[in-house]
């Protein structure tokens, strides 16, 4: 048996192709893109620069941000999972309350095997749920944002300033009371222990506030209302107030004596994705929990991350909306997710009853 030059060349080519095969297969495994649901404005910009773009650089997987409202994407994912269809997104950036609801419904993938869960603050772990059907990524505070021009004597010290007739029609809240319900109880003369069994002081506060004709809106509304001088005071997430300030709008924020509600957002991956896409989605979540991403993402948002040891952005050092010390946390009110999940519909119904009257 003799080997010609041609045969040797053929054999070499075949060997090369065989050696190259795993990398080709790996390339085929890589999804063409990853769709991540996000909030728009400053929120989306922070996710893009802090997580999505660096993830694409590292993995070569393009990330597309989908700005569908978090409440609207929820039923779409639920229906897709129930009907055995591929969900419309790979990763959901969600409020912990909404994410918990989806976890209770059983549509979330368990993230327990992500290496970057190691070393996170306890607040990263979802409460009242088995395993890691979601992971909390940072905390945020519903601050009292105000126009300094309307408060020449300094920052408002109490949320009860909302009831001052001087600010009639110039006060704003979230349109479902989210971020303010527990604070309303305290501002209305109740205590934290009253929540959730005795919300009446909060409802009474709302009834008084209604006479002052507050505006009810969502994140983009607050920025626009401050920009157009439609309002003087609002309960909104510090990110919105900070973004407004950074874009030149005269807005400041404070934590009044009754405190502010602190909450968390998280990431979760829906069930029903093809195996390679689910893996890429989990890789994305894992990357979002890395020190590099947490620093960039949460730094851009101006929010305390769940990875410890990351310094706050320079403009937020000592800011009560960026809690770092025990005394900062003493001013904040945190309601556990299971309590929120169980009571939010009831609180929302009452809120609506009062303000739509």
């Amino acid at each position: 048996m003799t080997f010609s030059r041609r045969t040797a060349l053929k054999g070499g080519a075949a060997l090369g192709a065989t050696l190259a095969m795993p990398s080709i297969l790996r390339a085929q495994d890589k999804p063409s893109e990853l769709i991540v649901r996000a909030w728009g404005g400053a929120w989306g910009d922070a996710l893009k620069s802090g997580v999505a773009d660096p993830f694409t650089e590292k993995t070569g997987i393009p990330v597309r941000l989908d700005f569908t409202e978090d409440n609207e994407i929820k039923p779409k994912i639920w229906a897709a999972v129930d009907q055995g269809r591929v969900p419309p997104i790979h990763v959901n950036w969600d409020t912990t309350t909404n994410a918990t609801i989806s976890a209770l419904r059983g549509v979330t993938v368990d993230l327990s095997d992500l290496p970057n869960l190691e070393g996170l603050l306890p607040s990263a772990k979802p409460v009242g749920l088995e395993g890691w059907p979601l992971v909390n990524t940072y905390a945020y505070v519903y601050v009292c944002a105000y126009r300094p021009e309307a408060f020449p004597d300094g920052a408002p010290e109490s949320w009860t300033v909302m009831l001052d007739p001087k600010f009639k029609g110039r006060v704003a809240l979230y349109d479902d009371g989210i971020g303010f319900n527990p604070i309303a109880v305290i501002a209305g003369g109740g205590t934290f222990e009253d929540i959730p069994d005795n919300m009446e002081p909060g409802y009474e506060f709302y009834r008084k506030l209604k006479a002052n004709e507050p505006l009810l809106g969502e994140d983009p509304d607050f920025t626009s209302w401050f920009q157009n001088s439609e309002i003087d005071l609002a309960c909104t997430i510090s990110v919105n107030a900070r973004a407004a300030k950074q874009s030149g709008i005269d807005v400041a924020w404070t934590v009044p004596k009754e405190g502010c509600k602190v909450d968390t957002d998280g990431l979760w991956v829906p069930k029903g994705l093809p195996a390679n896409e689910e893996q890429a989605a989990k890789d994305f979540v894992n990357f979002a929990l890395s020190e590099e991403a947490q620093k960039a993402w949460c730094g851009a948002l101006g929010l305390p991350p769940v990875r410890p040891g990351i310094e706050p952005p320079a403009d937020l050092v000592g800011d009560p909306s960026y809690p770092t010390r025990p005394e900062d946390f003493e001013k904040l009110v945190s309601v556990p997710s299971p309590v929120l999940v169980e009571n939010q519909p009831i609180w929302f119904a009452k809120f609506n009853e009062i303000f739509q009257g």
């Binding site: 209770l104 939010q344 929302f348 119904a349 009853e353 739509q356």
Partner: protein, 312 residues
């Protein structure tokens, strides 16, 4: 040559007829009307199936432990919806708003349509037509945001007020503002529905009335208005039902405190994830809208809309 062409035409027509006989044989000819109706019936059928599905969903209660609807059939969602005072308040606001918007829209649309039909100036007709169709190219949401810019505290209207030394006013986020936005949105629909009815009234009918001694107001009241009734009723039904189910204008111009019923449905489905309650509210709104429209047809008679066999 001409004869050959004529022959070929007849041959072609014969062939088409033969083909039609094969595809649609004589025994089926009686069903031709139904065949024409089939696409519409299929569409309406899909709508009815959707409504049936909605009705079925409305009969299941949400389990807060699993955030899924329970298996048991119950009227709990209807009880919840009806026992909440806010449901009645929002319903009253929606029905009242739909009534006011319909009335004001018709009052504005009728002279517009009349002028458009009767004007002798081609330039004026073109202008009125362009002004009528232009809003259709701009979506409702964009128009609502346009009003935010115009009516805002620092908006065009307040700038004009300040320019003449008057204090700025809070125009936005109030019930009248929502109604104003809705009237502006509904006006083109109403005009388009009134135009055919007015076009059908010959100008000579009005002239005959006047030549018999009637002044124009009498002619208008006793001739034009009754003859334009089909358009007016059609327009009122369309404007009323569209307003009854509108979401965007109250949402954007209402500042969160002037919700219409559609907002309550949206909130149930999306904000609190209670599809059962949302479905129950949807069924209630459908029922109320249907009853009102049926009542209008019963009072005005479908004959006024040009249907044969209706009450004259």
């Amino acid at each position: 040559m001409a004869g050959a062409v004529q022959k070929a035409r007849w041959a072609l027509l014969d062939a088409v007829e033969m083909l039609a006989r094969i595809v649609w044989p004589a025994p089926l000819r009686g069903a031709l009307g139904w065949a024409f109706l089939a696409p519409a019936l299929i569409l309406v059928g899909i709508l009815v199936i959707g409504l049936g599905q909605m009705l079925e969903t409305s009969l299941h209660e949400l389990n807060l432990a699993t955030y899924r609807l329970g298996d048991a059939y119950t009227l709990a969602n209807y009880a919840t919806a009806l026992e909440r005072p806010v449901t009645w308040r929002v319903l009253a606001r929606t029905l009242g708003g739909a009534g006011i918007v319909t009335l004001v829209t018709l009052l504005l649309a009728f002279p517009y349509a009349y002028l458009l039909v009767r004007t002798g100036s081609a330039w004026a007709r073109k202008f009125l037509l362009v002004a009528l169709f232009l809003p259709f190219f701009i979506g409702q949401v964009v128009r609502a945001y346009g009003w935010l810019i115009i009516l805002g505290r620092e908006g065009l209207l307040n700038s004009a007020l300040k320019a003449v030394g008057l204090p700025a006013q809070d125009f936005l986020f109030a019930y009248p503002t929502v109604l104003f936005g809705l009237v502006q949105y509904m006006l083109p629909f109403a005009v388009l529905l009134i135009i055919p009815a007015l076009s059908a009234i010959g100008e000579e009918v009005e002239l005959a009335s006047e030549s018999l001694g009637a002044r124009w107001p009498s002619t208008f009241r006793h001739v034009v208005l009754p003859m334009a009734a089909p358009g007016l009723i059609g327009a009122s039904v369309v404007v009323f039902t569209l307003t009854l189910t509108d979401f965007a204008m109250p949402e954007i111009l209402g500042g969160g405190t002037q919700d219409f019923f559609a907002s309550a449905i949206y909130d149930s489905f999306f904000q609190i994830s209670n599809a059962g309650l949302g479905a129950a509210l949807s069924i209630l709104l459908t029922l109320i809208g249907s009853v009102i429209v049926a009542a209008v047809f019963m009072m005005a008679g479908t004959g006024t809309l040009g249907f044969r066999g209706g009450r004259r």
